[in-house]
């Protein structure tokens, strides 16, 4: 087993108790060798954009979908800013030749081999965490390409993030989950808040009446969010 400079995972050593990999018919791909990295410079935002698109993943919690049902591509510039301000960035890479079959099946239809240049490493999994580096952290955008899902890669991404956070003494770690993602995070050791807090998100949209004239509105995915107006001065009660 070759040892890479980043942490190499070989399925043969990972899962000796899972005989189904060994018994797969020879016409299918053998489990590809993967490497997992926490080096944010080894991650190309363009590859992340492609990965998100192939998973139907959006960074907006309420994404806009096109007429074909696909989510809009994540804005590259915003992605760069998000990566720069994420405390932990985990990427799972795989050599392209192990994925040729999958890449051709990939829905985007144009030659990504040229797009990514000489590097033969393809991004197949990703996850990141945002933190205040002291008390709290939140995990976002954990994705694995569809053809390699259900093999424990997502769980390894989350475990790697958890390991880094706990080594820095951060134990209050949250993740916003849709219904579909709940089972995945439960398997990673997440549960609902033991203190019983309610998750809330800002969803105030401008009302239908003209009272909203002059109010700023910003767009997040398919949501139109009303920007609270500035308060000039409060009418506070006199203290007795």
């Amino acid at each position: 087993m070759a040892i890479h400079s980043t942490f190499a995972i070989s399925y043969a050593s990972l899962s000796p108790i899972e005989p189904q990999f060994k018994s797969k018919p020879k016409t299918k791909l053998n489990p590809p060798p993967l490497s997992i990295s926490t080096n944010r410079s080894s991650v190309d935002p363009l590859q992340i954009q492609h990965l998100f698109a192939s998973c139907g993943h959006s960074c907006h919690r309420f994404p806009r979908t096109g007429p074909d049902g696909r989510v809009e591509l994540v804005e590259l510039e915003k992605l760069r800013v998000a990566l720069a301000h994420s405390f932990v960035v985990v990427s799972v890479l795989c050599k392209a030749r192990f994925l040729e079959g999958e890449m051709e099946k990939g829905a985007l239809g144009f030659g990504f081999g040229d797009l990514f240049g000489d590097s033969d490493q393809r991004l197949v999994g990703f996850g990141r965490a945002v933190s205040d580096c002291g008390l709290t952290a939140s995990i976002h955008d954990v994705v694995v390409i569809p053809s390699l899902q259900r093999r424990g890669i997502g769980q390894r991404i989350v475990n790697r993030i958890l390991r880094i956070l706990t080594s820095r003494g951060i134990y209050d770690i949250s993740a916003l989950c849709t219904e579909k993602e709940r089972l995945f995070f439960k398997a990673c050791g997440f549960g609902f808040d033991s203190l019983g807090s309610t998750t809330m998100m800002y969803t105030q949209s401008p009302g239908p009446t003209t009272e909203n004239d002059g109010f700023m509105v910003t767009t997040a995915g398919r949501m139109q969010l009303l920007v609270p107006p500035p308060t000039h001065q409060l009418k506070l009660w006199k203290k007795e």
Partner: protein, 246 residues
């Protein structure tokens, strides 16, 4: 936290050693461009008068033993197209029954004395947290909003500055933000100060195109946030928390 667009002279104000330094982090250039707004809108949002700065400068700088003076905010913004985001905002100016004058100042500069914050947390009954961790968290939060009460005695010579409220938000500065630790001194609650804190944080985040603003509310304050435009479990999105393995 000095990670807002407008360069701040407050960053250069010397703080005493018991306070922690604000990290003077400049935004990458692309984020400055995103804050461009239509010129005719800028004046509407500029709500601080030049005279106000002198009064605030003299009262606050006196406490900090600094010698720099504030200049009116209009001269801070030299870049074309930048939205003027005020560092400080006078929320209230009133006389109390004993003749003292009280001003309540909202600030986004993020300078918080962790000891003053701990006293505030004690007042509301929150459990204590290691001060060093609190200091690091505040330093690395994207936005820290504070409410200070500045009281002047009737004679005008004694001044007291007291932390009466705080809220902070962590963010990746692009898509996601979470609001934490919204706290208001119990003797100042019920006057709209908590609402002002959250609304200003929300406004600051939305102005930067950060669309996923979340928070985890105690059952007692869910209605408070509902009135501010927050929705519980929207479209089934719930927060899950890591449980330490046994």
């Amino acid at each position: 936290m000095c990670s807002l667009a407008a360069p701040r002279l407050w960053c250069h104000t010397c703080l005493s050693s018991s306070r922690f330094e604000v990290r003077n982090e400049l935004l990458p250039p692309t984020v400055y461009l995103r804050l461009k707004r239509k010129p005719e809108k800028r004046l509407e949002r500029w709500f601080l008068k030049a005279g106000f700065w002198d009064s605030i400068a003299s009262s606050i700088l006196k406490n900090n033993n600094a010698t720099e003076t504030m200049v009116p905010p209009s001269t801070l913004h030299e870049e074309e197209g930048e939205e003027p985001i005020p560092d400080q905002l006078l929320l209230a100016d009133r006389s109390l029954s004993d003749g003292t004058q009280e001003q309540i100042i909202f600030s986004l500069t993020g300078d918080v004395d962790v000891h003053a914050l701990q006293d505030l947390c004690d007042k509301v009954g929150w459990p204590r947290r290691p001060l060093s961790k609190v200091a690091v968290s505040l330093k690395n939060s994207f936005l820290v909003a504070t409410l200070y009460s500045i009281t002047k005695s009737p004679e005008g010579d004694e001044e007291r500055k007291q932390l009466i409220g705080m809220a902070r938000a962590t963010s990746d500065q692009a898509f996601n933000a979470t609001i934490w630790d919204v706290i208001v001194d119990p003797s100042y609650q019920g006057q709209g100060l908590g609402k002002a804190l959250v609304q200003k944080l929300t406004r600051a985040l939305l102005q930067r195109d950060i669309g996923n603003i979340s928070l985890f509310a105690d059952s007692k304050v869910v209605d408070f946030y509902k009135n501010l435009g927050f929705e519980a479990d929207p479209e089934g999105i719930k927060g899950m928390f890591w449980h330490l393995p046994f």
